[in-house]
């Protein structure tokens, strides 16, 4: 199958790759580029494990074609922490024990980043609806919601 050449930026770094036209961004990230922090839970857009930001917008990377990344900025879980350490969202997930197996965690953290970029002070209902596309089978969401609330508070305080 002939491949397409794509130029994109991933977590601030210029990246070029070749992909088959039908390959998803998720498959390219994981299998071609070995950026395996982004997870696959369903490949049909139903679980959110593959959440990434595409030009700042939250998307399921399993529903985006690799070729669609052309000229765009992709932010994955690997790009959330800064050089000076964990992002407050990551820190709060740890402090609140908001992960058990952790497979949903990268997607949830990326989705939370998108949420808090948009809503500075979301109430519980807003958080629950915003994260409704990110399945977690282990936690019952309780500690995740609390981690997001804590992170929102901390970020508001920092700002």
């Amino acid at each position: 199958m002939s491949k397409v050449q794509v130029e994109t930026r991933i977590n601030g770094e210029g990246v070029e790759f070749l992909c088959e036209p039908q390959q998803t961004l998720l498959e390219v990230l994981r299998e071609t580029l070995s950026r395996t922090g982004t997870k696959e839970g369903c490949a049909t857009g139903d679980c959110g494990a593959c959440s990434v930001l595409l030009d700042g917008r939250l998307v399921c990377s399993c529903l985006v074609l690799g070729v669609e990344a052309e000229g765009k900025e992709v932010t994955t879980i690997e790009g959330i922490a800064g050089n000076d350490g964990l992002h407050p969202i990551q820190q709060k997930f740890l402090e609140r024990a908001a992960l058990q197996c952790g497979i949903c965690t990268p997607g949830l953290i990326v989705a939370t980043k998108a949420l808090l970029d948009k809503h500075k002070n979301p109430d519980e209902e807003t958080i629950r609806y915003w994260l409704a596309g990110n399945l977690c089978r282990c936690t019952g969401y309780d500690k995740i919601i609390r981690a997001v609330q804590d992170a929102a508070e901390e970020l508001a305080y920092e700002a």
């Binding site: 696959e40 679980c47 990551q90 997930f93 402090e95 019952g140 309780d142």
Partner: protein, 753 residues
């Protein structure tokens, strides 16, 4: 609630040692290993639920560019019958046929062939080029149908086990089990009130978010390495060895991080295929299930049909009970009907009871363990019946349970007497909980139910290495599925008397640490924890000997206190205490590095009880249920890391609520699952649930140094009935079948009007 014990680290909530890797995407899960020159393996699955395989021809696939291996049933050795090991794994020959069909396919999605190719798209094209000829048979799709005398047979060699005499003809009933005591007729005669119910629950899936995945590579000498997500890499190793006729020592299994299991990752599906494909191609092979594969071909839990009858005196004292419990096994024998039978009446004192249970073959995927396997379905039946009973007696449902609750010394329905347990304590804590008396909004309902699970011990190994600066490395063999590294570090720090931060835990592969059974059965913190504690005690004994040698006193003149060796009281030695760091620093002079180890088969797992309170509302227009509040009370024995104990309770509640309200396998008349994706098999999402309030009761298990009982499974037992009872309370309508999905509830409400 906790009995006062002076622990420094046990009971605290530190950050898990593997946490940073898991919030940054560094942690590697089953599908995250990419090796140079690697191929992608894929499985061809049966389009029929029941058919004879006439032929499988992979030659066209094998001839394709980029395809390097193609296998079918004929390429596997014939496996002899025998126990495969693991959790409910079943018979070796059955697992072999489940992994790759031989002469028959027994469910839609059953594996019939596999290929390995240079890309996923080529692998897909290769699957399409495989020719399979089938002779389609009538599928048997539900448990009642399967038990009928004239039902088509899945297996002509299946004769019902456990009957007094071997039956003269085969049947879909693979096994029966009975438990009985007293005289049931007399018991019912003595009753003032009798309630009865007939309860159906369809198959449901564990629903872990990470699909099964592995990467295997085998060299010319036949030595293979398999990296995979598993609840037990040692057991995966032995299963793979049995299925492929390999020497165990030629197989090395490395457990990746695991993205959920709940019992479903205790048996092999892909691993033997990947090894075989790697052998044929001479290259590493990675295999990843799709979500659809996971639903169609990996272990759901049994669909069940249960009947329960209970009698009681006016004051609530139970006089007799019967249970008839039929469990779907799926395509091969091994439904968890035994535990179901042993659990159904376990929480209650009963003089007279009779329990019958059935393990029934149907043309659906073979069931696998799912959190307290078999218990939730049986508990749903009895706990709903008890709720009906409480209503008829006009009695508080918790009081009814308190009146009949088992306690230490009660003869359990499954045989022996109960040792120290915390059921009454849980009931009392639930009754005293503010959520139990909190006023409900207009139209809402509240339901209560109890749950029980045995928990198990089994084999574990652990080593403890003391670094040259006194920091500690714990090596054990249980994949960390929900924070167990943190628990191990806590128990090691507590035992040694050092800081939590100076301890690290790692999960060794099958060649770097001793055998350990699966992470399952709620056993890891209990049994592996016990091994870690014993390995630390081994270190302490060595430290005391080193200190004695340093001071020139006898070993029994040294004690270990707060992480340091001190002279025993009354010993007249003018010496400074020696900390673990001091002893480690001079270890090279006193006998070399400090290495402690322990291996054991832990006995005395403590039964864990739970009581749940569920508040919900039903939309009369749509039948949709809104869960308003959920309170989980459970006896943990001792919570080593309370956050992760609560996490188990909250996660189990969420899974139980999903099972109660929405989740079900829906099959068409040909046995094709119609909802094999997360869109239509709807597990709870964040907006479906409220906060889940937890109350940890601590009645220590006398068989564990810190009192641990194990907490992972009990949380899923009670929510099914708690939700059903709340729906009854909210609507005035009793619906016996699950799930309480909008159409079913609307129907029930409409026909009641």
């Amino acid at each position: 609630m906790a009995e006062a014990v002076d622990y420094k680290v046990v009971g605290t909530r530190p950050i898990r040692p593997d946490g940073v890797d898991k919030v940054t995407g560094r942690a590697q899960y089953g599908a995250d290993l990419n090796l140079p020159n690697m191929l992608y393996g894929k499985v061809l699955r049966s389009p029929h639920a029941h058919a004879k395989i006439k032929s499988v021809d992979v030659s066209k696939a094998l001839a394709m560019d980029g395809v390097y291996a193609a296998v079918s049933g004929a390429d596997f050795p014939t496996a002899a019958h025998g126990d495969i090991g693991g959790e409910g794994g079943g018979d070796v020959a059955d697992v072999a046929k489940n992994v790759m069909a031989r002469d028959k396919v027994l469910y839609h999605g059953h594996a019939v062939a596999a290929v390995a190719a240079t890309s996923q798209s080529i692998a897909d094209a290769a699957l399409a080029a495989i020719d399979v000829e089938y002779d389609v048979l009538t599928p048997v799709l539900d448990v009642d149908e399967a038990m009928a005398d004239d039902a088509p047979l899945l297996d002509e060699n299946c004769f019902t086990a456990n009957l007094p005499e071997k039956p003269d003809k085969p049947s879909n009933i693979a096994a029966v089990m009975q438990l009985a005591r007293g005289n049931v007729e007399e018991g019912f005669e003595a009753a003032d009130v009798i309630v009865e119910g007939d309860y159906n629950i369809p198959m449901a899936h564990q629903g872990y978010i990470e699909p099964h995945a592995c990467t295997a590579t085998i060299n010319e000498a036949g030595q293979a390495t398999v990296w995979c997500c598993t609840q037990g890499h040692f057991e995966f190793r032995s299963m793979t060895a049995k299925l492929l006729g390999m020497e165990i020592a030629d197989l090395k299994f490395i457990a990746s991080e695991i993205g959920g299991g709940f019992g479903g990752k205790t048996v092999v599906y892909l691993e033997p295929l990947a090894v075989l494909l790697s052998k044929q191609s001479g290259r590493p092979v990675k295999m990843m299930m799709t979500r659809e594969d996971v639903f169609r071909a990996t272990g759901p839990t049994s669909g069940t049909h249960c009947k329960v009858k209970v009698g009681a005196k006016k004051d609530g004292t139970l006089t007799a009970a019967t249970a008839w419990l039929a469990y779907e096994a799926g395509a091969f024998a091994g439904a968890p009907m035994g535990p179901g039978a042993m659990c159904v009446f376990a929480p209650y004192e009963l003089e007279n009871f009779h329990i019958e249970a059935f393990d029934v073959l149907v043309n659906k995927p073979k069931v696998a363990a799912y959190r307290a396997p078999g218990a939730p379905q049986a508990a749903h039946a009895i706990e709903v019946a008890l709720d009906d009973l409480a209503r008829q007696l006009d009695m508080d449902p918790i009081d009814l349970r308190l009146k009949n609750a088992v306690s230490e010394g009660t003869q359990a329905s499954y045989g022996p007497k109960f040792p120290r347990i915390g059921f009454k304590e849980c009931l009392e804590a639930a009754k005293a909980h503010p959520n139990y008396t909190k006023p409900l909004p207009e139209g809402a309902g509240r339901g209560v139910a109890a749950g029980f699970w045995f928990n198990v011990g089994m084999q574990s190994s652990a080593e403890v290495h003391i670094n040259e600066n006194g920091s500690v490395i714990v090596v054990e063999g249980n994949p960390d599925i929900g924070g167990s590294r943190a628990s191990m570090c806590i128990m090691a720090a507590e035992t040694l008397g050092v800081e939590y931060d100076s301890v690290r835990a790692l999960v060794g592969d099958t060649e770097s640490t001793g055998f350990s059974n699966v992470t399952g059965g709620s056993r890891t913190t209990f049994a592996t924890g016990m091994a870690v504690i014993e390995a630390c005690e081994d270190i302490i004994a060595q430290c005391k000997a080193r200190a004695a040698a340093t001071w020139g006193v006898d070993e029994d003149q040294v004690e270990w206190e707060d992480g340091q060796a001190v002279p025993a009281p009354g010993v007249n030695a003018d010496v400074k205490p020696l900390s673990l760091a001091d002893i480690a620093a001079s270890a090279h002079k006193t006998g070399g590095p400090l290495l402690g180890r322990a291996s054991l088969n832990a006995q005395g797992a403590g039964a864990s009880f739970a009581v749940n309170i569920c508040d919900l509302q039903v939309d009369a227009e749509t039948g949709k249920v809104d869960v308003l509040g959920f309170t989980a009370v459970q006896d943990a024995g001792r919570a080593i890391h309370p956050d992760y104990v609560e996490g188990q309770m909250q996660g189990g509640a969420s899974q139980g609520l999903g099972w109660a309200l929405n989740e079900e396998y829906i099959f068409d008349k040909n046995g094709v699952m119609e909802n094999a994706g997360f869109l239509d098999y709807r597990i709870p999402v964040a907006s479906d649930l409220p906060m889940i309030d937890c109350e940890i009761v601590e009645v220590p298990n006398p068989s564990h140094p810190y009192g641990v009982r194990g907490v992972g499974e009990t949380p899923i037992v009670a929510p099914l009935a708690a939700a059903a009872n709340a729906v009854r309370d909210a609507t005035g309508v009793r619906v016996n079948d699950l799930p309480l999905s909008p159409p079913r509830l609307l129907d029930a409400i409409d026909s009641a009007e």
